[in-house]
């Protein structure tokens, strides 16, 4: 086995153990161990933390996003419920308002009807009174006209024999009789 390696490593020392043949040297090995440890220290101190932080931040952002989405969904559900509640209340209120309006309208109509009735009655009453007054006035006028007419007629028949007072008395009696 050693021959095989030494055969390959022709330019290395022809004789020596397997480690020397493979180029393994204690000093170099130690150097590489120390160098690699320093390298790991530098990388884990200066390079990986910001990258890990970025990974963590992204993870946090994703989690926060998920949480926010869940919260938004919950809020939307609550808003929906609130909306449904408000809608229900509004409907009930509207119903009440309509009912009140109907009642008020009915009351108004009733009042108006009452007013109209009383007014109509008043108008009818006034008309009756006016009519009666007119009839009385017409009668009075007719009465006066008739007296004048009878006086004239009597004057024509009787002539000037009767005095004015007698004449008037006769006429009044005649009218009384006629009435």
């Amino acid at each position: 086995m050693t021959n095989l390696f030494t055969q390959f490593a022709t330019t290395e020392k022809a004789s020596g153990d397997i480690f020397t043949s493979l180029g393994i040297d204690g000093q170099m090995l130690l150097f590489q161990v120390v160098a690699f440890l320093i390298l790991v220290f530098i990388l884990s101190k200066f390079v990986f933390p910001p990258l890990m932080k970025a990974v963590d931040d992204r993870q946090e952002a994703i989690e926060a996003g998920t949480k926010a989405a869940e919260a938004a969904e919950k809020k939307a559900e609550e808003a929906q419920e609130e909306l449904a509640k408000l809608l229900k209340e509004a409907r009930a209120e509207a119903k009440e308002i309509v009912a009140t309006a109907k009642d008020e309208a009915n009351a108004m109509i009733a009042t108006s009807e009452e007013k109209a009735k009383s007014r109509a009655e008043k108008i009818v009453k006034d008309a009756h009174e006016q009519l009666e007054k007119d009839v009385i006035a017409a009668r009075k006028a007719l009465h006066n006209d008739m007296i004048e007419l009878v006086a004239l007629a009597t004057e024509k028949v009787v002539g000037n024999a009767v005095s004015k007072d007698i004449d008037k008395k006769i006429i009044a009696d005649a009218v009384k009789e006629n009435a």
Partner: protein, 277 residues
């Protein structure tokens, strides 16, 4: 053609080549390429992090962020304990990105042709056993530490050593686990090394074999290397996470999980059946 191949004298080195010394310390070609890969990685990360901090995303930043998030998610999926997952994640992610950038350096042009004192200057760090072995050792100790934290010293020992009279099968299983503990980390490092090393050799040999046609012949193989680099880096990463998950999961937990998995669908089915009835 074969004469040409032989004439070009391809030198294959299993170990990384030393370019120069700083004091007594040898600086190898794989270290130099690793430095280049790290510079590129930090430039890319610097750009991504600065953009992420400003929350200015474009396609590249989005891709990097997506990859990072996916890998992190996998760590959390595989390791059941979130606290342990948070501890192992930086190491596992570092392994993935360092391995990925390191591997991708093997497609740089001039892999074997640019030489310094006769040694190729470029060599992917993943094709250096020192590096892959070092990372496997770190993973091994980290996993053992996390297992010790999860089960305590006696609990950890019980993973390997059990009473052979009371539980003969479990005792044998423990020995296998003990051997497996070493073999799996050896395999982890050698797997990465083997792929990267073979990939480099493949590209070098193809370049030599195809000569001037290599301009057309190499790109598909380079793209393939990029893909293999991603796969190998991912394998190293996911195995690290799986080893951690296995180590912190006690025998009892495992049994519980299996039984709960076996029973829960049937139980839920019965429950739904009962509720529908």
């Amino acid at each position: 053609m074969f004469q040409q191949f032989a004439a070009s004298e391809i030198e294959i080195h299993v170990g990384a080549g030393t370019l120069f010394h700083i004091g007594n310390f040898p600086v190898t070609n794989s270290m130099l390429t690793q430095l280049l890969s790290l510079v590129l990685m930090f430039v890319a990360f610097g750009y991504v992090v600065s953009k992420v901090k400003k929350r200015k995303y474009n396609r590249f930043v989005g891709l990097a962020q997506w990859a990072f998030e996916g890998m992190l998610g996998q760590v959390y999926d595989v390791v059941p304990d979130k606290a342990v997952a948070r501890k192992i994640a930086p190491l596992a992610l570092s392994i993935f990105f360092v391995m990925l950038f390191g591997y991708w350096m093997s497609v740089l042009p001039g892999l074997d042709s640019i030489k310094w004192n006769g040694v190729p200057v470029l060599r992917a760090v993943n094709a250096d056993l020192n590096f892959t072995f070092a990372v496997a050792i770190i993973v091994f100790f980290t996993v053992q530490y996390l297992a010790l934290r999860a089960h305590g010293p006696i609990g950890s020992l019980k993973r390997y050593f059990r009473n052979p009279i009371k539980d003969p099968i479990g005792s044998f299983e423990g020995i296998l686990e003990f051997i497996g503990e070493f073999s799996r980390y050896a395999a982890l490092s050698v797997r990465m090394f083997g792929n990267a090393f073979a990939g480099e050799i493949l590209l070098v040999i193809l370049a030599v074999l195809t000569g001037f046609v290599s301009v057309i012949a190499l790109p598909p193989f380079m793209a393939f290397e990029l893909f293999i680099g991603f796969v190998q880096a991912y394998v190293f990463f996911i195995l690290t996470v799986i080893f951690t998950s296995l180590a912190i999961e006690s025998h009892g937990d495992h049994h519980d999980q299996i039984t709960s998995r076996d029973h829960s669908p049937a139980d839920s089915h019965n429950k739904t059946a009962a509720s529908t009835e």
